[in-house]
Amino acid sequence: MSDLLSVEHLSKSFGGLKAVADVSLTVTSGEICSVIGPNGAGKTTLFNMISGVLRPTGGRILFDGTDLATVSPSRFAAIGIGRTFQNLALFKHGTVVENILTGRHTHLRSNVLDAVIFFGRTRREEIEARERVEHIVEFLEIEHIRDAVVGTLSYGQQKRVELARALACEPKLLLLDEMVSGMNQEETEDIARFVLDIRDQLSITVLMIEHEMRIVMDISDRVHVLNFGRKIAEGTPAEVRRDPAVTEAYLGGHRSEPLAKVGA
């Protein structure tokens, strides 16, 4: 197994604030990796840099052997990086199907002139895209809402549509930013099952930010812990749970009690 993503000494400063400082981590192909850390630890900033929303101020990101600094941000989706957002970032006036179709953008070729005529190749690729979307709809079990306008759906359903849209990009690496925040037990378990299926059936590597410790401990192969923009620990869920630095980050002070009792 090779490293799909390798983040080397990555930093991002906003003025005097170092949101991410000298973070290095690797994600191996076929893994489910989690990034955890208290609020303001720089997790989302890290994701924003990996997905091209922000440019790093230091260090570099290698994706599949390519230095992402040499790639234009609008090409990130094309080379295989897909993501969801912490606070929903759907196209809320469109239907579920339209939203997912937008995720197919990089796989379609038609330009403005083709679109105006909408014949032959353009029509064929639209039909094919629509068929792909139907597979994703089926995979994530959102058939009953496929024609609903996204703005009218519940929070949990919208999160699932966002996941569908990210899958439509057919990424190699899927970044999930707090997928299950605000979800109930049942919805959380559904998402956990989907994440496992995404890895096992679609062979997509998953890197997720998560506050919900049950899902982190249950399904991740490896956990990276950030605090105040720095990486403080890395390892399997069990190792991280025992790490004193992690306990300190979450609970503060020097306590002998391991996180295990709190997190479990």
Binding site: A77, A89, G94, T106, T122
Partner: protein, 348 residues
């Protein structure tokens, strides 16, 4: 009996209209418009022509403002560029009218690159002001470039003759405008259901997410500008031909406001809305005049002398009323009506 909405192939999912009655009604409407010039008197026909030309322009602005969410106050700039491009090519250099129409699309499209490029980083009001400035710059350029545009004197334009068919009479010219309106409608509907249209709407609704989906924001904003300006330029050429005289005064700034009013009244981001909005806004001043003239001849006289001022007041009034009571516009009202019809006597 059809009890649900069943599709058997994926092709059926990407069709423009999936219901035969809609095709039937549209065909009947077009048939009606084809018969119209024979039965309508020239006064009513002039409104039909204006509506058809305005539909083309409104659909053009709809691509930029409705789909892509970039507000333009300068679309009159593209109208006047299109009109002048046609007039210069056809009247001055005796080119074929089709070349004239092509130029009327391409010249504003090029101009839109100039205004679009600095606008890429601007949003909302700032973009609106930039486009506003553009339309005034265009006016100045046209007035100063006398060697090309005859300056303030303007250029007179003949009704075209294309492949032996003369569009000299009002009836024939109606057909020309109808052709442009129908083609533009199909073009914008096709854009909307394709990759490009989805990218436009994605930029409008959430540009960060759009970029993460792999949409090149700069390129697609420019595409929106260029497409919008091309279509608007064609409307400008048609309007210039209709006026039979192209001058800066023929394209007052009020037209930009009128176009925005059309989109707001019709419902932003909808081709049907642009059509419905056009009909309402074009007929509104005339309808108001008719209503008031029933009461007193004096008011009628005020309408004749202060037409422009009253128009701008009316546009302002309907924009405010629609934003307050029907923000989704006529097309929203139409959807509500349709849902009521289907669900009655239940509310939903």
């Amino acid at each position: 009996m059809r009890t649900g909405d069943f599709k058997q192939t994926y092709g059926e999912l990407v069709t423009l209209v999936d219901s035969p009655p809609v095709w039937l009604w549209s065909a009947l409407l077009v048939a009606g418009l084809i018969v119209a010039p024979f039965v309508l008197n020239s006064y009513v026909l002039s409104f039909l022509i204006i509506i058809l030309i305005t539909v083309v322009g409104a659909l053009g602005l709809n691509i930029l403002t409705g789909y892509t969410g970039l507000i333009s106050l300068g679309h009159v700039g593209f109208l006047v560029t299109g009109a002048y491009a046609y007039a210069i090519l056809v009247s001055k250099y005796q080119m074929h009218p089709l070349v004239g129409f092509l130029g009327a699309g391409l010249v504003p499209a090029l101009a839109s690159l100039i205004v679009g490029a600095p606008s890429l980083r601007l949003k909302g009001l700032y973009l609106a002001i930039t486009t506003l400035a553009f339309s005034f710059i265009i006016n100045t350029v046209i007035l100063e470039a006398r060697w090309l545009t005859n300056g303030a004197r303007g250029i007179s334009v003949q009704r075209p003759e294309i492949f032996g068919i003369s569009f000299d009479s009002d009836a024939a010219f109606t057909y020309l405008c109808l052709g442009f309106a129908v083609l533009t409608l199909f073009a914008t509907l096709n854009i909307r259901r394709s990759r490009v249209g989805r990218a436009f709407v994605a930029i409008r609704d959430n540009d960060t997410a759009a970029r993460v989906m792999g949409i090149n924001l700069h390129a697609y904003k420019l595409f929106a500008f260029v497409t919008s300006a091309f279509i608007t330029g064609l409307a400008g050429a048609l309007y210039g031909i209709y006026l039979s005289f192209v001058s800066v005064e023929g394209f007052p700034f009020l037209l930009s406001i009128e176009a925005l009013a059309i989109l707001i009244v019709g419902g932003l981001g909808s081709a049907l809305g642009a059509v419905l909005g056009t009909i309402l806004i074009v007929l509104l001043p005339e309808a108001t005049r008719l209503v008031f003239s029933l009461f007193s001849a004096q008011i009628d006289a005020v309408f004749t002398t202060g037409a422009q001022e009253l128009k701008s007041m009316l546009y302002g009034l309907v924009i405010i009323l629609f934003l307050r009571f029907q923000p989704r516009g006529l097309v929203g009202a139409w959807h509500d009506l349709r849902r009521m019809w289907v669900n009655w006597p239940l509310r939903y």
